[in-house]
Symmetry: C2
Subunit: 179 residues, 2 copies
């Protein structure tokens, strides 16, 4: 048996960053942890980045994931908001690479397609599917659910890849080719 | 005599990030080091953030600055470029706070006003003034010069503050008031 895969998912935000941790046991997804990192609204940018960086490092130290996945933020119409979100996302990725974790990126569209089956799904549908797929007793907050959905996206996309390879396909230059 | 102040200045960029280090000896500015961190253009975002973060940490370990100053990037008309720049800047600030450095932020306008005396100065004027003020033998690259200009901005603004306090002013709630 392979080493179990433990995925850390991050949904970056300038105010609230969601995180989720799941285990891949065979083809099963097992919930490990999830939560939110909230940055103090009146703090300076450096203080907020400090909080974000330290907490992500703490989550990694606590749960020891083997891989990470982060949502690709969509470019906002508000340039100042885009810059803020970019800064938060840059700090998150800095924490992941600082802890030597491989980083995978998925767009919101890829996450919705993987978890709900279609790219135009509402936030509530994502939340609902996360609860179903991980057999959770309660509903996690929207940001934590999004982070868990990013974990599931990474898990599902890699299952499918593995399955396709088993079915006689190999990958060459990033494309599937028949063996 | 006070502990000497060593300022690390950062001019963040998605491709090239400039850095500069100067010492404040009394009212004199003494050049210590400067350079550029170039990220490989074909690398993934995580790889580029890794390069940026590690090199800033290395610069801090090598030169042991006591304070840092970083240029506030202007919000671009191109949202994707703004996001990229934000991510690089967030990673830079993460490296600074990770190394426990106080972080000060200055806008491009503040830097130009401090170094050249007017906010509409051309890049070449900034470069020229940096060479003059630090009595350099050669001209540093544009990005390194910008980073040194950020150092000088922090130094000059704090000189002026110290001078005004000496002249009988105190600061209350962020404003100068006569003692």
């Amino acid at each position: 048996m392979n080493t179990p895969t433990r995925i850390l998912g991050i949904d970056p935000g300038s105010r609230i960053t969601g995180f989720g941790v799941i285990d891949l046991v065979g083809r099963q997804h097992v919930y490990v942890a999830s939560g939110c990192i909230k940055t103090p609204p009146k703090a300076t940018l450096a203080e907020r980045i400090d909080v974000l960086f330290r907490h992500i490092v703490e989550v990694i130290d606590t749960y020891q994931p083997t891989v990470s996945a982060i949502e690709q933020v969509f470019v906002n119409v508000n340039p100042a908001a885009t810059l803020m979100l970019g800064q938060a996302r840059g700090a998150c990725i800095a924490a992941l690479v600082h802890q030597s974790l491989p980083v995978h990126e998925y767009t919101a569209l890829q996450v919705k397609q993987a978890v709900v089956g279609q790219g135009k799904a509402a936030k509530e549908q994502v939340q609902h599917m996360v609860v179903q797929m991980l057999a959770l007793n309660g509903t996690p907050s929207a940001d934590a659910a999004d982070a868990l959905a990013v974990c599931l996206t990474h898990a599902l996309r890699n299952h499918n890849l593995a399955a396709q390879i088993q079915q006689g396909l190999s990958i060459k230059g990033g494309r599937f080719t028949a063996r």
